[in-house]
């Protein structure tokens, strides 16, 4: 190990049971962070600082003002730039001694296995169920450990999935705990809010689990699920089990949701081309809306008839998440309709006015 590295990492090399051997393991490790959001930002920061030799960051999305309260790697001057690229640029300055690999892509069933190939450990910094399940199933198929994290309002979850435990067996994964989810029933951060410091805590806990997995230190949260409440700081660790009991053979198909951008929609509205549908909750509708019908996402199934129309439908919500779910739902129920989701939702609509 170089003298400058010995110095840079001296305060962790000094840890009991760590030493130069552990630092070398970090240097040789290849870790992929999927999602450079509220969890991915702090996680990637600490993985870079600790000297993970190859750190990949995957994100197709761009920096957005409304996420800066918890995505601490970004500044307002970078709004609109790709998050994976900006994050890699910054972290390369923070630690010039490691290799940073930006992946400016949306993780799909078509590309996820190829993406995982070059990495040993995967960190889940995603913000939606589709990608969480996709990543989980891909890690199971590829045999890679997945360090999971998720947050909502004041509560967070952390776990380490899919670690080899005994002859041919692997520790539980996401589907052992939550076999499947109707995403339209669970609010995301844009709707329900999230306290930024919780994102920081959970992201750091995920990076911490990666360091433990790579160096063999401590007891990673394998077969366990940690729950943390930032309001009281009470946490508990749920024992999930020793081995996984689910079988995963194929990846879930990633469904492409047809999107419409704010400028496109504005032009279309001027020409009377679209029928708008607001899928937000009553309070959100009352506070501000951009017209059209109002059918909250959780009532969409029951009120599907009133959406019959000759024009293409454009669903909108706060961030584009619920309207995406609405599009998937409607395509199943009314396959003939032309449907779009407003990209970035009301937030993007407002941001492009500011």
């Amino acid at each position: 190990m170089q003298a400058s590295d010995l110095l840079r990492y001296s305060c962790q090399i000094a840890l009991p049971g760590f030493g130069e051997a552990s630092q070398k393991r970090l240097q040789q490790a290849r870790v992929l962070v999927v999602g450079a959001g509220g969890l991915g930002c702090p996680a990637a920061q600490y993985l870079a600082a600790a000297g993970i030799g190859t750190l990949g960051i995957a994100d197709f999305d761009t920096v957005s003002l409304g996420n800066l309260h918890r995505q601490v790697l970004f500044t307002p001057a970078e709004v609109g730039q790709n998050k994976a690229r900006v994050a890699c640029d910054k972290l390369q300055h923070q630690n010039p001694g490691i290799k940073l690999v930006p992946h400016e892509l949306k993780v799909t069933s078509a590309n996820v296995l190829a993406l995982l190939q070059d990495y040993d450990v995967v960190l889940d910094g995603t913000d939606n169920f589709d990608t969480k399940y996709l990543l989980n199933d891909a890690c199971v198929l590829a045999g890679k450990p997945l360090v999971y994290g998720a947050i909502y309002q004041f509560e967070g979850q952390v776990a380490v999935w899919n670690v080899p435990v005994e002859a041919g067996k692997r520790s539980p994964n996401y589907r052992d705990v939550f076999p499947e989810v109707d995403a339209s029933q669970v609010p995301n951060c844009a709707e329900g809010g999230v306290i930024p410091t919780l994102a920081g805590m959970i992201g750091c806990m995920q990076a911490n689990e990666v360091l433990k997995l790579v160096t063999g230190a401590g007891e990673p949260l394998v077969g366990k699920l940690l729950l943390l409440d930032a309001l009281t700081m009470q946490s508990r660790i749920i024992k999930v089990g020793k081995v996984s009991n689910v079988t995963i053979d194929i990846l879930p198909e990633t469904e492409e949701v047809p999107l419409i951008s704010v400028p496109e929609l504005k032009q279309g509205i001027a020409k009377g081309l679209y029928e708008l549908v607001d899928v937000r909750r009553d309070e959100e509708r009352k506070a501000f809306h951009i017209g059209g019908k109002h059918v909250p996402l959780d009532r969409l199934g029951k009120e599907v008839e009133q959406l019959q129309t000759n024009k293409p439908l454009v669903f909108y919500c706060a961030s584009g998440k619920r309207s995406g779910e609405a599009v998937k739902n409607i395509r199943k129920q009314l396959p003939g309709l032309q449907v779009y989701s407003l990209e970035g939702g009301i937030k993007a609509w407002k941001e492009q006015q500011v």
Binding site: G38, V177, Q185, V186, P187, K239, D298
Partner: protein, 80 residues
Amino acid sequence: MKVKVLAFGIAKDIFGSSSTAVELSGEATVEALRTALEMQYPRLKQLSSFMIAVNDEYAEAGQELAPEDEVAIIPPVSGG
């Protein structure tokens, strides 16, 4: 048997509080509790899945509940 359950995440919103109580008239298994909860709170069923933990351990459907057990309802969370 009356079972007190603690709520996490969206279950707090669904119960309208951080805990609730469920009366199980027949057998007191985890599955019976799940069914009773889904009856009492239809939104729980719509989630498709939520974890039931008993004394900080994942509980299988057939597990019997005792009155002193601490039962937690842990729904999935997707934020990041």
